[in-house]
Subunit: 208 residues, 2 copies
C-alpha cells in the first residue's frame, strides 16, 4: 500500500481541552476521550508494520494546569497503560519518576521495557516528561534520559499547532512533521493515512 | 500592523539546489542566489522591530555534499558576512571552529558577538553547525555551545520540507514552525507576512 513505512512514529495527541469545550464539557473532561483514539491508531500501526511509536502523554510543563486537569490527564495515562497491558506491545515509559507528579501505578514500566502479549510493536509513552530533565541527564548520567528511544522518522501532531512543544528534542532533529487540524478526540484513520500519503514524498537526506 | 512581534525568529533558507536545477543551473550555483534574499529579510525584520534572528547557514551534515557544493555554500556564507559588516547588526557566528570546514574568514565572529554599525538587530549565523556538537558541548563545557542564542519564537523554513533538520534543538522546543513552499532564492516579502499573519493566532502556552 505504501512504499515507505516510517520505522518510528511520534504522536502528539493535542486538542483534548479544546475538543471538550467545543462539546460543552469542562476542559478536564477531554482527556478521557483521548484513550480510545490511541488504541485505534495502535491497531492501524501494527497492521501497517510500524515497528515503534512514541506517544506524548504529559509533561512537567502540563503540571502547571489546574489541579482537576492534572488529575484527569494523569488518570487517562494510567488507564491507557492498564488497557495496553491486555494487548501486544513492548511498553517503555519515560519521564521523571523523582517527582510526585509521576503516577506510581506506572513505576513498573518506567525506564525499562515491559512486554505485553506478543509484543507486536515498541510503544514508548512520555509521562511527566521534561525536555530539560531529558537533556540534563547527560550531565549526571553520561546519556540523555530517553536514550532508549531511537530517532523518529515521522511526527504527527493533532490539534493544529505547528510546533514540537518539547517533544524529544534529540530524537526529533530529522523528523518530518505532519499537522492534523482536527482535535485528537476526533481522531479518524483518514488523518493517519493523509500523513502517510504526505510522508511518501518527503526526501530523507539527514542534511547530506 | 501586527499585535504580536516574535522576539526571535529562526530562518531555514532551504531549496537553493532545487531552485538552481529548476533554472537549468548546476546545483552548486543556487547558493549565491541566497544572499540577496537574506538581506531583504534583514531589512524587513529591522523595520518590524524584530530583536533577533538566527539564520541556518550550513551544517556538518551538509559537508557530505559534493566538494563544489561545499565550496559554493561556504563562499556564500562568507560573502553574506562581508556584506553584513557594512550594515547595522550584532553578529554572532556559532559553529564548530575545530574543523577545516569552518571558514577561517569567519573566525573573528565565532562565539563572540561583534557589532556592525548601529547594531539594530542581533543576527546569529550557524556556520559548520552540528546539533550533536552543540548539545555535546554541555558535557565538556557545562553548557551547550549555542547557549548565547535564546529561545526561538517563530521558525520560518523555505523549500517545503516540514522538519527542523537539526536546527538548534534546545532553542526550538517551543517554536511555532511555518513552512513556505517556495524555494529560498524565490524569497518574496509576502512569504514573511504570511508567516506573521499565521503567527498572530498561535497561542503561546509553553506547555502550561
Amino acid at each position: 500500500m505504501y512504499k515507505r513505512i516510517p520505522t518510528h512514529i511520534g504522536i502528539i495527541p493535542d486538542g483534548n481541552r479544546r475538543w471538550a469545550q467545543k462539546q460543552g464539557l469542562e476542559k478536564k473532561d477531554g482527556y478521557s476521550y483521548g484513550i480510545s483514539p490511541g488504541f485505534s491508531l495502535y491497531e492501524i500501526m501494527i497492521a501497517m508494520g510500524v515497528k515503534e511509536a512514541t506517544f506524548y502523554g504529559f509533561t512537567k510543563d502540563n503540571n502547571k494546569r489546574a489541579p482537576e486537569q492534572r488529575d484527569a490527564f494523569t488518570k487517562a495515562c494510567v488507564e491507557a497503560v492498564v488497557t495496553l497491558a491486555g494487548r501486544d506491545a513492548n511498553l517503555l515509559v519515560i519521564g521523571n519518576t523523582d517527582s510526585p507528579a509521576f503516577p506510581p501505578e506506572l513505576l513498573p514500566y518506567a525506564n525499562q521495557r515491559v512486554r505485553f502479549g506478543q509484543g507486536l510493536i515498541n510503544l514508548n509513552f512520555l509521562v511527566n516528561y521534561d525536555w530539560q530533565w531529558d537533556l540534563g541527564s547527560a550531565l549526571s548520567c553520561g546519556h540523555i534520559a530517553s536514550y532508549d528511544i531511537p530517532r523518529i522518522d515521522l511526527i504527527i501532531r493533532w490539534g493544529g499547532c505547528r510546533r514540537l512543544s518539547g517533544f524529544l528534542p534529540v530524537q526529533s532533529v530529522y523528523s518530518d512533521i505532519y499537522i492534523v487540524e482536527d482535535y485528537w478526540p476526533d481522531f479518524d484513520p483518514a488523518h493517519f493515512h493523509a500523513a502517510m500519503d504526505w510522508y511518501q514524498n518527503c526526501d530523507v537526506t539527514l542534511g547530506g
